[in-house]
């Protein structure tokens, strides 16, 4: 039995343990995301009373019958929270989708267009980035009027600069990496390189950023409806419900607490989903060798790039040496032996 065979066997065991943990995480995340999807698509499945039904019990505390209690008009708060998710999640999902599409477009232009175009585009992005998101959203809503679609557009515009900035930086970074230059040597044109090499390598960052942006967009969306600029009462919405209940926190705590909790949970889930996605989408992720990376930094053995050329100003993470801890599956080692 050779070294590699034994080592591979042992690694396979550890790998299995790692896989179990990762699978559990994935299952939990998928269940949560499906729950959100259900709430979004078919709220009636989960809450059986209508959020607009005025019941007999006014201001009832949480009980078996009304798990989250009722409000001044006897409406079930549980139903209102479940049904209230729809406008909030619609606004933030569509808003972020809009923002990421626009951001990728603007950022790509900023990253590959001729110098003067990219300068103009990115300075505008910089100016927008200097304004608070809420301010941009408020200005837009003041111009185009209130309502769900206004919020979607406002969120889309407000979050675009952030995406554009990240995408532009990544594109510039990727363009300095040798595989993009190699593609140029094969004769690929700008559009071809963008589609084949730049965008696929960007997608991870965009998805990760989008998933945490959903959290922040939820906050902005609910803030707007809290201010009365979104969904109008009596229709359920976390923001407007929170606003309505805010004054009775000391007397009827359940009025603002449950819409507030819903917002918090959404933001947490969105952020955690970002991390999870990042792990899931990393093409180098096959094994837990990611943790080995620290060894590369210490175990310098070979001369680093000695050319102070534009080519060598690559990115540490990418251009850095993968040689040290290059995951060696047993068969790949065997193949080198054959050769």
């Amino acid at each position: 039995m050779t070294i590699t065979a034994v080592a591979a066997e042992v690694r396979a065991q550890r790998h299995f343990q790692g896989t179990v943990r990762r699978r559990v995480t994935s299952i939990v995340m998928i269940v949560i995301i499906l729950a959100f999807a259900a709430v979004l698509v078919m709220p009636g499945l989960i809450a059986h009373t209508s959020p607009l039904d005025n019941g007999m019990d006014l201001l009832a505390a949480p009980s078996a019958h009304h798990p989250f209690g009722t409000d001044q008009l006897g409406r079930d708060i549980y139903a209102r929270v479940i049904f209230g998710a729809r406008p909030v999640l619609t606004a933030s999902l569509l808003g972020v989708l809009l923002a990421s599409l626009a951001g990728v477009t603007v950022g790509t232009i900023g990253g590959i267009a001729p110098r003067w175009i990219s300068t103009v585009v990115m300075r505008i992005v910089d100016m927008l980035l200097a304004l608070p998101v809420l301010l941009i959203a408020l200005i837009l809503i003041a111009t185009i009027g209130t309502g769900l679609w206004s919020i979607v557009i406002a969120l889309g515009v407000a979050y675009t600069p952030g995406f554009a900035r990240i995408v532009e930086a990544s594109i510039r970074k990727l363009r300095a990496i040798e595989f993009v230059q190699a593609a140029r040597i094969f004769g690929s044109g700008g559009v071809q390189i963008t589609i084949r090499h730049l965008l696929p390598n960007l997608i991870t960052e965009v998805i990760v950023m989008a998933s945490s942006a959903i959290g922040w967009a939820t906050l902005t969306a609910t803030t707007l409806s809290f201010l009365g600029l979104g969904v109008q009462l009596p229709n359920p919405d976390w923001g407007s419900d929170l606003a309505a209940g805010a004054t009775s926190l000391s007397t009827n705590w359940w009025l603002p607490t449950f819409p507030g909790l819903a917002i918090t949970v959404t933001i947490l889930v969105a952020n955690y989903a970002g991390d999870w996605m990042m792990d899931l989408l990393d093409p180098r992720r096959t094994r837990s060798h990611a943790r080995f990376r620290f060894l590369r930094g210490i175990g310098h053995t070979m001369p680093a790039a000695t050319n102070a050329s534009a080519a060598s100003e690559g990115v540490p993470g990418m251009a850095g040496p993968a040689r040290e801890a290059a995951p060696q599956t047993s068969s790949s080692t065997a193949s080198e032996r054959q050769s």
Binding site: M1, V6, R11, R14, R196, P283, T301, S339
Partner: protein, 695 residues
Amino acid sequence: MTSATPHADALSTASDHPVLAVRDLRVAIDTPAGVVRPVDGVTFDVRRGETLGVVGESGSGKTMTAMAVLRLLPGNGRVDSGSIEFNGTNLTKLSGPELRSLRGRDIGMVFQDPMTSLNPTRTIGSQLREAYRIHHRNSSRAEADRRAVEVLSLVRMPRPQDRLRSYPHQLSGGMRQRAMIAIALVCEPKLLVADEPTTALDVSIQAQILELLDDLKQRLGMAVILVTHDLGVIAGYADRVAVMYGGRIVEQAPTQTLFSAPLHRYTQALLESMPTVEMDPDSALTSIPGSPPQLIDLPPMCRFADRCRYADQLCRGQDPVLLEVAPDHVHACFHAGPAAPPESTDSLLGRPTRQLPEAEDIPAGVSLITADHLEKQYRVKSADLFGRSRPLHAVSDVSFEVRAGETLGIVGESGSGKTTVGRLLVGLEQSTKGSVTGVGVPTGRARAGTVQMMFQDSGAALDPRMSVLDLIAEPLVVQRIGTRAERRRRALELLDAVGLPQSAAQRRPHEFSGGQRQRIAIARALILRPKIIIADEPVSALDVSVQAQILNLMRSLQVEYNVTYVVISHDLSLLKYLADRIAVMYLGKLVEIGPTDSVYGNPRHPYTAGLIASIPRPHASREVARAQGGLSGEIASAIDPPSGCRFRTRCPLATELCAEQEPALVLRGGSHPVACHYPVEGAAPTFHPAESVTA
């Protein structure tokens, strides 16, 4: 120096009592993949006034050994067993504060990259003062300053007083490494651990730094541990050598013995696989197959057995023990013996003769591509808001031709413009002036079919999201050649040609080792059947043993696919082996070009002569191994290059004429053109000591 007056005789009085005695050291690092044992039973001594060279490939545990001595292991690492005795104290038993008082004061450390190991936001002076005052609590600032100036002059830093107020970025690479050494020396340590101290430096600077370390060792009577992958460095500057493989010392011997009569099969293979200036370029390099083992849960066995041509059941069944064969000479090999000439398994790979292959359409030796007065300037932005940008002359007026079937080597230090020339040839950069023309070398997209490129870092040159098959076939897709099935067939064919199994096709680049990735990169460069491949430092990111595999592969493919190589490298030994003709560049200028034998045998430009003299050679004799009369000083700035001959600031032969008139690259009596007013005849010129020039 206050207390340590230079002892010229420190070496002779070296006592037998070791400064550092490491016994059966085992280091474990916990990772999710298992417990890695980068150091597994290492035993060695270092005596006063002695340099112990620790040499090995990446992953052999040499750096971890050095780190363990300083107790600077990564957070999840620990010393499992064994002892590290320093002057009689066992370091493994010391507490944090005790260790801290020892580090820096009694044990100094020099790291590989002085840019990252110096704090960029603080001056050299303040970092020196800090190192001093940590261990001399009651010293005043003035005292610390005085000591700082002292050590800076000790490391031959020009104008030490002024340097105290310099920030690291204001110093050149060589000067930064001097500052780093000064910090390590400020408390007069008894032991200096130097981890790859010259790997990030150019060959000419490397020789200067190594000379300095050697001189300091003798004057201060320190013990030095020199960790490196470079056998040439070891040969010239170590008194004893420990060869590490797979976390163990496999052979330890006095330097001369190790290089003249290595006993362990790994040491022998390592020495054979390294291209040297002396070796016959017509013979193929002996490569070590495979790659080093992963150090997780290894059974008892010789770690080299899987790659060793002498290995048998015994080697795979039990751990070899260290045998002492002569005083100070130990090895751990069941089949030790004098090196035998390797079986000629590689004979096919090498070029039996230097006959240039005949192409179908272009006869060998005919100019394939011509660089005509190439010039490339970059604009360097000024730090001021409205400051004007200044031109950086990366390449100035470079003309040469690449002939069909040959291998042209371009050599030079960092900043010489050699990479830019490569990028201009392949069309990645547009020249500011001049042009690249040639037989059937179109411009733009169509050039891809004629000129291809291999990059230094194959990890970065392969898109991580694509499968190997897609990567190799990509040029065909871009050029719209063939059907899907046809592309697949051609890609698989090439995969076979570069020695990778078909099963590799569906995997992604990160699943391969560095050497295997470089094979993929070669396959991709070949798929369009180019006439020329520009290889920019093709093997400098690889370990010595893997280097040889790739070099042999490049040579055999050259014959098989009838390509011409332009190999860009800083490594003169490598080019001596690989190239038919050599072009030497300095600061954007071509200073000498000619057939390899004639450039190495009879260098005409003082720069070439100095570069060749600077190469550390893995040779048994210390005198041969050491750089004799290597270059002094450092490369000048390309933003404001010296007038006339650009090399004059470092040239011992420079006169007024050199400052006024730029020498043209013409034939000056010798066998090949040289750009120098006073071409070297015979013996190389002697260079001034560093300080007089760099100031």
